[in-house]
Symmetry: C2
Subunit: 330 residues, 2 copies
């Protein structure tokens, strides 16, 4: 069978089983292994969080849709987002670049400028890496962070929890669509939208507040709300109902696609916001103290065939044609 005919989840599961069979993971120091946003190791100093994330040209980014600085920023931000999803603090990073020989040196320098802008703002000092020749540009970053132990895990959702997200959804993917359609020249509002596509914000401080307040379950939704919420439900053996009306859709996405902005917010991907679950009372008290931190959008229910249901205001299922990213469809 070819990879494009097997789900990413199934592929990772097969690999995980293979690794588990070998019994090579030392349970005494690995707190969280394969299957979460990052891995967590117990150390004398607390917990070390490590994550790795890769962007490949023409799969995850295009030179047409962002500057080299933008590409560098996003490569680092997407990794820091995984650290955020576990309530970690980024300390160091290793950067591997795959580069074609015909690329301008200046492009690499600009990529690093964007990457280091992100490090300046959020942490993760670059201490090493690798540079290899490759037809297509790719950027693989590994970030090491620490946490005081109040870990956020995607497997901690409980039946009855409410579901909330940080920020607003659908901006980056709607922005990409706008650029692809060439709409940005016809309307001033679209340039701000284009900006949102690449300059994503890792929710590090937000995650730390949520963890400190007692939230235990989180993941980042870079593959789209529905897709990533399905992974969270699988890991926690629960289901989710999301109320479409409550989803905080990015205002510029609404502006650009007044008829079907919901598909961007639900299945567009690239949002780098966090979805969290916790008892309703806890989430409401957090909202009282930090009004702009989260929006409550749904509820966790018992495990069921349909993992994530998006419901309209009448309680009917919203049917979205697109289902997030399948990495091997392209």
């Amino acid at each position: 069978m070819q990879l494009k005919n097997i789900g990413e989840f199934e592929l990772i599961n097969r690999i995980k089983q293979k690794i588990d069979l070998r019994g090579k993971t030392d349970a005494s120091s690995v707190v969280i292994g394969i299957g979460d946003d990052g891995a967590v190791l117990r150390s004398l100093e607390g917990f070390q969080v490590v994550t790795t994330d890769t962007m490949v040209e023409d799969v995850h980014f295009s030179r047409l849709f962002g500057s080299w600085e933008d590409i560098g920023w996003k490569a680092m931000a997407s990794n820091l987002s995984d650290i955020a999803a576990m309530a970690g603090k980024p300390d160091y990073s290793l950067v591997t670049l795959g580069l074609p020989g015909g690329l301008e040196v200046e492009a690499v320098e600009k990529l690093y400028d964007g990457l280091l802008d992100c490090v300046d703002k959020f942490g993760g000092a670059v201490i090493g890496g690798d540079i290899v020749s490759s037809d297509k540009v790719f950027v693989t970053i590994t970030v090491f962070g620490t946490t005081d132990g109040s870990l956020l895990r995607r497997s901690n959702a409980k039946v009855g929890d409410s579901i909330a997200v940080t920020g607003s959804l659908g901006g980056p993917s709607a922005a990409l669509e706008v650029i692809k359609l060439g709409l940005e020249e016809t309307n001033g509002g679209f340039s701000a939208l284009a900006e949102t596509h690449m300059r994503v914000t890792p929710r590090l401080s937000e995650a730390n507040v949520l963890a400190r307040k007692g939230v235990l379950c989180s993941m980042d939704i870079s593959d789209g709300l529905k897709n990533d919420l399905e992974k969270l439900c699988s890991a926690s053996d629960v289901s989710a109902r999301v109320f479409a009306e409550e989803i905080p859709v990015h205002p510029l996405a609404k502006h650009a696609f007044p008829e079907d902005f919901l598909r961007f917010a639900v299945a567009g991907g690239e949002d780098y916001e966090l979805v969290v679950t916790a008892p309703s009372g806890l989430l409401h008290s957090i909202k009282l103290e930090f009004p702009n931190l989260i929006t409550i959008i749904g509820r966790i229910g018992p495990s069921s065939q349909e993992k994530v249901s998006i419901l309209d205001k009448n309680g009917s299922l919203v049917n979205l044609t697109s289902g997030g990213w399948n990495h091997f469809l392209s």
Copy 2:
């Protein structure tokens, strides 16, 4: 200027300067940063060593010249070799795979089999990673290890030191040439040679012996003896004279290329052996205790224009046309 017209060393230097300018590396905990085989961080438990290495299809490996198991083995072994170059012990690894959608699932499983065979033998339990879509297969591995503090560094060579290497050189690159030339069917000896191309051995136990005995300077020579020795000389601000007659050339390389085996041993690359420097007396006493561990091949001299000179038995310069790998020439 395009990347293919700038040396890898110069490119890394430019990036390093950019990072240094930002002043983002915390000197109190980063013991070794960019420019060695790996980075080293000080922790409460001693030192943490981290390295990352990437193999790209048709740049570093080909499906034609090795099985998927071989490719997995080599991807892990080349990383462990960097850990060895710093006298570390591998603990954990993150594995990122770039995979085309048309690839068979079985290929990925076989790749993991080879990779885990290497982990079984040498350590480095897989605790996470990433899978992304990519036209060409690539494998990026990050390994975390520890060391008790007796670090081997490429910047520790001193004038007057002798130079030694582990194992024998030229086998893997000669093997590749044999396979490319299609010679392997005409001579039984070549199948063993082909085996040496992919199933390389990271010199972890050797490095630990050398570090324990007091050796301070080492790097792995995966880019070729001359090329990597030049990097070592740059980092230590010294030069090197290597006596061609003393180089332990892989016997099968001699057998396959009786006229010009030296180019494989000096500039072929992919050896994954270690080159070390230390006072002559120390290296000789190590040889007495561990006769098969190292071969002394040359001497460190003061910094000079010609960083590495390969000399024949009359003391004349040996002229080798090929100069190791330049990653961006292809």
